[in-house]
Amino acid sequence: MEQWLSSVIDPYYQQVLMLVGIYIIAALGLNLITGLCGQLTFGHAAFLSIGAYTAAILTRDFHLPFILSLVLGGLMAALFGILLGIPVLRLTGDYLGIATLGFGEIVRVAFTNMKITGGAIGLAAIPRASNLINVTFFVILAVAAVVLLENSRFGRALKAIREDEIAAEAMGINAMWYKIQAFGIGCFLAGISGGFYAHLLQYLNPNDFGFLKSFEILNFVVLGGLGSIPGTIVGTTVLTLAPEFLRFVQEYRMMIYGLLLVLMMIFRPHGLLGGVNFRRLLRRRKQKATALSS
């Protein structure tokens, strides 16, 4: 299967596409927390690393099947997300941001000093189990899940909390409970993404999961348009591919990357697809079509 795949798509493009898919899963999780529920978190990379290390250690040292370890890694990340969420989600806005930033650093330092994670030397010899097929499959699964969530009672409750928490409470929504659920699901997706990440790179190092990575993922979501699922996907794709496609300008690469960020924020302050409602767009087009035909 893999050989057939590499005869169709160059392994380099496969690698980059897988990275895009993996980041999309993580970004969808963050979009649920920050975009939909309005809770600012700067520690998403920590949950990515929890999932990555858990899955990697399970397949490497305990020889568990890949998909099972992937799910267990996701659950581990969700568990830590909920444990962190219970005390921390009482905070709002910037304060929550700082608290999650701190948690991210704790996780990084903990992994640096643990024996089982290989410490500062890193964890090597992880089997390469991620391929374009299982990554794509999980991306589709994740997209379907978050689309269904967004348009459910749960999703509407999250939006209500984002817009006005007090009003939402007055309407009988248990804001704390919903926030923790959203945090748990978001972290689960991050954990899954981390598991794929570990089995793509085959090597993990705690320093790779610093706050820069958290900001990178936040960038994907904000640039695509906070709260927009298509926006998150487009934002992640553009920002992950840009450094690769900008290789031809060599040392100016990161400068142009930065310039792209600035330009996008000037012209589209709400993100690439922020504020675009696809359902409404489709409905309007349909209405136009029916009006024309009649």
Binding site: Y12, A120, Q202, F248, Q250, F267
Partner: protein, 401 residues
């Protein structure tokens, strides 16, 4: 609304442009030899893997400089097997995820026969399985950590390992300087330090020197008075310090403060001007070993030539370890290709593994049967008037496994 739409279109066009030219640029640069399977008609491609931006950039930039000098020298003499050497460079910005893409790109898009890199152990370990799987030679010009060449028979490195250097230094300390009783200071949250301490302890035991005191510190500590007090009571002949320069400088300050007239010796973790910026007079006489020191006066002829060429091209700046090892890496690959009379990695990797006593610009190099390099000599530097000067040039021998 309309303005937004225009902006959106403008942006998409810009992105598309970047995309298209990106692809164009790549196919253009590699059109010389595609689909020929490992090299082409008239060029041999060697990939550079390393950071040109980000916090590891200083290693990568120097490595690449050395590699380019080697390619120039080779091409001036007609290339290798009648083909030109071409260095394909790719920056990974010190990021793990991009490093994996870079290796994959070098192998499948640029079709290099060998990759020189990465200067760090971590990213070398990331690249090694990919190279091994695709049967491309990986020669790291910087990795010193454990568990690198064990990954496969296509994986090499041309660095001075602590397991080779520290025993030679220990012999000098014990037999020439008369350190019979030694205190060892380890930074316990620093893997490099923990590993180096182990090597020193074994070497000291072999030379019948006694470890009279073992002290633990942590990277980031500022106060070492308790540790130094204990060292004072143990009355050693010298201190072996396996941590980094920041703590090393501060530690020696405390040693002098408590009135001890001991000298410190350590690995290249101490190799930085920060040592005397923090330690001042207290670090005068401290000894640091390293695999390469640019010493135009006493260097071997090939090293002298390299230093001159480097200085001419870089405003009289002296080359460092990374540029010298980058130069050697390309030269070693070229030599192996000539000997195997082939640019096929599966053939010249065996010739490379047979390298014995190769006179490189960063010292002579021999690959052991397990592909670990043994380099000689090791330079023992001494801090003199707030500068490193060469105290001794020590020959090394293969570690006993």
């Amino acid at each position: 609304m309309k303005k937004n739409k225009i902006a959106l279109i403008f942006l998409s066009v810009l992105l598309m442009l970047a995309l298209v030219t990106g692809c164009g640029g790549q196919t253009g640069s590699s059109s010389g030899g595609e689909n020929k399977g490992g090299g082409s008609d008239d060029t041999i491609k060697i990939g550079f893997m390393g950071a040109l931006t980000g916090n590891e950039a200083s290693y990568g930039i120097e490595t690449l400089k050395g590699m380019k000098m080697a390619a120039e020298d080779l091409n001036k003499e007609g290339g290798v097997l009648g083909k030109r050497i071409e260095i394909v460079e790719s920056d990974h910005g010190s990021k793990l995820s991009e490093a994996a893409s870079v290796v994959q790109k070098l192998i499948s898009k640029d079709r290099v026969v060998a990759i020189v890199g990465d200067p760090t152990t971590g990213k070398t370990k990331l690249a090694a399985p990919i190279c091994q799987q695709n049967k491309v030679v990986l020669l790291s010009a910087g990795a010193v950590g454990p568990g690198v060449v064990e990954i496969g028979d296509y994986i090499f490195r041309d660095t001075l390992l602590d397991a080779v250097a520290a025993p030679a230094v220990t012999e000098y300390l014990v037999n020439k300087l008369g350190w019979k009783k030694v205190a060892i200071v380890t930074s316990t949250n620093n893997d490099y330090s923990v590993g180096l301490t182990k090597i020193f302890e074994e070497a000291l035991a072999r030379h019948n020197a006694q470890v009279v005191d073992k002290e633990s510190i942590q990277d980031g500590d500022q106060d070492f008075s308790a540790q130094v007090t204990r060292i004072k009571q143990a009355r050693p002949d010298g201190i072996i310090f396996t941590g980094y320069y920041t703590e090393g400088g501060l530690f020696m300050k405390e040693v002098r403060k408590q009135g001890l007239d001991l000298k410190m010796a350590g690995g290249d973790g101490l190799l930085s001007p920060v040592l005397w910026k923090l330690g001042g007079d207290a670090v005068e006489g401290s000894m640091v070993y390293t695999g390469f020191a640019a010493d135009p006066a006493n260097a071997a002829p090939q090293t002298k030539e390299f230093i001159q060429k480097y200085q001419a091209a870089n405003d009289n700046k002296l080359p460092d370890m990374f540029s010298a090892q980058g130069y050697d890496a390309v030269m070693l690959l070229a030599k192996a290709m000539k000997e195997a009379n082939s640019t096929d990695p599966s053939k010249f990797k065996d010739a490379l593994a047979k390298t014995r006593d190769y006179p490189g610009v960063s010292g002579s190099l021999t690959f052991l049967p397990n592909r670990e390099p043994v380099k000689s000599p090791v330079y023992l530097l001494e801090v003199k008037n707030q500068q490193f000067s060469i105290k001794a040039v020590l020959p090394t021998e293969a570690p006993k496994v």
